[in-house]
Symmetry: C2
Subunit: 234 residues, 2 copies
């Protein structure tokens, strides 16, 4: 397998960084090819703007997705976007490794989604969910957070973590056609000791060594909807 790890933590010594390194080593140890995009180390620019397009289909009025489509076709996207897009298209598995900020991805990673998941290649028109441009690829979130596990789930104070992560799991990764594996979650990380951290590292390594037995999460399929995307009777 070709594996891309997109890593987004601002402290190189963080536990999140340790998870990233463990994934790289474990997957390489299994014979996979691994590339890591360390967004902070790369000084990644997360802001989707007019500067992303060397040539503009419409220089007078920016419609970002339209310019993405044209720029991807003409290969005139900004070099940093094209570089990440090439890695993404090379990958069979993409791991997004990050600390939860506001029940979501840090802005530096959100801007990777905004800029790299270009219209016309990753999605577009009726090419989304199981018809998306990235079908055949797998995605895995590896996240750390401050909350305890009992604060998440049905009836818990924050509700199910998967519901909080819905715009990423479903609205982003499944939307582009990727098979989304259940997230790996390390709870309460800023407050736990070394033993608990070692446990999470062991759990993650175990998980990575058996990814082929993981069942992807279930999301809508276009065949359940009509031409105008109204639901068909079941």
């Amino acid at each position: 397998m070709n594996v891309l790890i997109v890593h987004a933590h601002n402290e190189p010594q963080s536990f999140s960084s340790a998870l990233c390194q463990l994934a790289e080593e474990t997957l390489q140890g299994q014979g996979h090819a691994v590339q890591v995009s360390d967004l902070y180390a790369m000084n990644w620019n997360p802001v989707a703007s007019a500067a992303d397009f060397a040539e503009r289909a419409n220089p007078d009025y920016l419609v970002y997705a339209l310019e993405q489509r044209e720029g991807a076709k003409a290969k005139t996207l900004a070099a940093d976007i094209q570089g990440e897009l090439d890695k993404l298209l090379w990958a069979d598995l993409v791991i997004f490794n990050f600390p939860i900020y506001w029940f979501s991805a840090p802005a530096i990673l959100k801007g990777w989604f905004d800029r790299v998941l270009v219209s016309g290649i990753c999605y577009g028109g009726k090419r989304f969910y199981d018809q998306g441009g990235l079908t055949g690829k797998q995605a895995l979130l590896s996240v750390t957070l401050g909350g305890r596990e009992h604060m998440f789930g049905e009836g818990a104070i924050h509700g199910p973590l998967e519901d909080m992560l819905r715009p990423i799991l479903r609205g982003t990764l499944a939307y582009t056609g990727m098979a989304v594996l259940p997230p790996f979650v390390a709870w309460h990380v800023p407050y736990i000791g070394n033993d608990a951290r070692q446990d999470f590292l062991r759990q993650y390594q175990e998980r990575l060594q058996h990814l082929q037995s993981d069942q992807p999460l279930a999301f809508p399929r276009l065949e359940q909807f009509d031409e105008r995307l109204y639901p068909l009777p079941r």
Copy 2:
């Protein structure tokens, strides 16, 4: 009322920008004081990093929320963060005006949440949801998106929009104690003509003129949970 509008669109002529301007004019016309943070025009930096702290509680290991707490106390936060934080604390109502990117906020706005909603002031310890640091303030999302209205809701292809926006509505704004009003949504914006856009502008103006009759969305209250944040029997 003091109103802060946080605006995040990369095209100054966009319909989203027209909504921003309409809100500014309408609310000023009603005698409210309005400030606008136009994040693209400000060249806002959305990346939460060590550079945000002139002095570090722990220079050897960055825990972002911890440094926020210390920096807010000592008033040593980066000037751009302090400036936005001052506006936020001044405001009675905060409007977040943006195009939906990946069922969420554009990265430039996500980074406003990451950097400006500082620990120790906006939340911290048991100060969240109805006990959050920003209780007494109201929040409103004003969003544009490409999808049609029938693609959202129970059983629809993307499910309810409020579920996609959960990390913002509940996980961010309600978490800090703000009363969150139902979002104003302009659907299918890139594909509609001028008449339909004028309709949305009229609807939004009407909405803004009667905000006092809006019912905030319902979210958890801490009294429903015990000391360890397990749910209490109802």
